[in-house]
């Protein structure tokens, strides 16, 4: 009898949990969608913000462009460094100590909260290096933030590659470089692209690191690396926190979520596809 009650309570618990989880997830997406949808027009997407205070009228075009550019810069910066580091550690590093040290450094970096990175970016890039609040400063700060994420995944993809097939390549007398370019990279392509995409999504959604390093309340779509930018997450924050326009806040949130969900679906389909192929 006791057992029955326990089992029933247990079943109740896990069902309620599931319902709550699904409800929470659905709520977030539907809420933003429903409240934001009506404000989305082509004009909203393609024009600059205006009015007083700024943002109460007009659109979010520069913020969209700014966010996309920031994502691009951060991905390029982080990917190049992360790929090189992963290649070195897996294929060229002879010393176990060096490898361990590198891993510790990267782990520590991953643990630094994004706001602290923002502080760093501000002090070093914006002030000391006199780069000012710019696309470059913010993009690099974001790149630093996502570097560990990408590096860890690329390294993992490399290590999962079958050692015996690798040896088969070496046994033909071809060089390591050729093996990397012609055998390993093409094989790991899906994993690499998926991790870059996910990382790009994180970079685009992050507000803390760019608050002081490049994102501003208003700026036109940037023309140079040194121009300040607008970004969707920061724009959302300002619109809602300063109570400038609730309608446009919802719409901005919707645009941001829509872009991110598209990116994430793309990245996740890539990994799911790979799992099927592997079988």
């Amino acid at each position: 009898m006791m057992k029955r009650i326990q089992s029933a309570l247990f079943a109740l618990w896990i069902s309620v949990s599931c319902v709550l989880t699904i409800a929470a997830g659905l709520f977030i997406i539907l809420y933003i969608f429903i409240k934001g949808f009506k404000t989305i027009t082509w004009e909203f997407l393609l024009s600059n913000p205006g009015g007083i205070p700024i943002g109460v009228e007009g659109g979010i075009f520069p913020a969209i462009i700014g966010s996309l550019l920031l994502m691009l810069i951060s991905i390029v910066f982080a990917f190049i460094l992360a790929l090189a580091t992963a290649v070195y550690i897996v294929f060229y590093c002879e010393s176990q100590r060096l490898e361990n040290t590198a891993h510790v450094i990267i782990q520590c970096m991953a643990g630094i909260p994004s706001i602290v990175l923002g502080l760093f970016g501000y002090t070093v890039m914006v002030v000391s290096l006199n780069m000012g609040r710019s696309l470059l400063s913010a993009g690099l700060t974001l790149g630093i933030m996502i570097f560990p994420f990408i590096q860890v995944r690329i390294e993992k993809a490399f290590r999962e590659f079958s050692k015996s097939v690798l040896n088969a390549s070496y046994s033909l007398g071809v060089s390591k470089v050729y093996t990397i370019f012609r055998l390993i990279l093409p094989q790991c392509r899906r994993d690499i692209v998926s991790s870059i995409t996910l990382a790009g999504g994180f970079a685009m959604g992050a507000a803390a690191p760019i608050m002081l390093t490049g994102a501003v309340i208003f700026a036109p779509a940037p023309k140079a690396l040194s121009s300040p930018v607008m970004a969707l997450p920061l724009h959302l924050y300002i619109l809602s926190n300063e109570s400038i326009s609730m309608e446009k806040s919802y719409a901005t949130a919707l645009v941001l979520i829509a872009i991110l969900i598209t990116i994430n679906i793309f990245a996740i389909t890539l990994t799911l596809w790979r799992k099927e192929v592997k079988r």
């Binding site: 550690i89 706001i115 685009m204 941001l256």
Partner: protein
């Protein structure tokens, strides 16, 4: 020709790796140093245990005890809420969902995990805070509780993912034999999977707690930003929001500025301790 290219490539790789590692080390050292400068002026004990944070008065009196407490408090509330829901959902996921739909659901969970902090903050502001104000007649809905609930939703995907990995393996290992004996799924989950996943659950908790503590935007938008002694229904201030909010007003090089770095440093130390704890949990998990 091939040899030339090969050699150039190897050199490029080494240079880029060196650059990356130096850059990262520099950042770590830089943050530490900027914080340390504050500790030369103000003893670290006073900083951690004092309860006044008023950037407008003498910066030597800046202290973050309330703020540390609030950071821990909000994260704790989040875990208390998210843990039962996350573990419950993971149990159901591992026992009742087949392979194909499981992958899809895990994908959906990952998508939720990808929703940025600022959007959660926004929803928190529009929904939670207003809800508290309307239905419970609070003068202000911004509170530790609001922050906790919001963070709970944010760490839920991590708890579910981590637990599900462990639970799925356990379920698949034990269920064929158990079901052959006529035992119900519920019973298997309750008496085998759940107790055996304890270590995985602890790992998930520690992971989620660390994530919650580092969150900036979402928390910042709903806790009221008042560096006072935190109470469940009252306003508070966490270290990340403190830094975010006051970054702009502190002049580079001033003591206030170094105090912000010092606060960040304290946060990182706490996170480090949490990560070390996670490392030991993982080690005992593998035994």
């Amino acid at each position: 020709m091939r040899i030339g290219f090969d050699k150039a490539f190897i050199i490029l790789i080494k240079v880029l790796t060196l650059f990356s590692l130096l850059l990262l080390s520099f950042i770590i050292i830089f943050v530490f140093k900027e914080g340390y400068i504050f500790f030369k002026e103000v003893p670290i004990l006073k900083f951690i245990t004092g309860t006044t944070w008023n950037p407008l008065s003498d910066p030597r009196n800046l202290s973050i005890f309330n703020i540390i407490l609030a950071t821990l408090y909000v994260s704790l509330v989040a875990i208390i809420i998210a843990l039962p829901i996350g573990v419950g959902s993971a149990l159901l996921l591992s026992g009742y969902v087949k392979e194909r739909p499981r992958l899809i659901i895990r994908g959906l969970i990952d998508i939720i995990a990808g929703i940025p902090s600022v959007i959660f903050g926004f929803i928190g502001l529009m929904v939670l805070v207003k809800f508290f104000e309307k239905f419970f007649d609070f003068p202000s809905g911004e509170s530790v509780l609001a922050g906790g609930i919001l963070l709970a939703v944010m760490v839920l995907p991590y708890i579910i993912s981590t637990c599900d990995e462990t639970m799925d393996k356990l379920y698949r290992k034990h269920s064929p034999a158990a079901q052959a004996m006529g035992i119900s799924k519920i019973y298997i989950l309750r008496t085998i999977v759940l107790p055996q996943s304890l270590r995985g659950i602890v790992a998930a908790t520690v992971l989620a707690f660390g994530r919650a503590m580092g969150e900036t935007m979402a928390v910042m938008m709903v806790i009221g930003n008042a560096p006072i002694m935190p109470r469940l229904l009252g306003k508070c201030q966490t270290i990340p929001s403190l830094i975010a909010l006051e970054m702009g007003m502190a002049e580079v090089g001033s003591l206030h500025y170094h105090a912000l770095f010092a606060a960040g440093f304290v946060l990182m130390v706490i996170l480090l301790m949490i990560n070390v704890a996670l490392y030991y949990v993982k080690r005992s998990l593998n035994r």
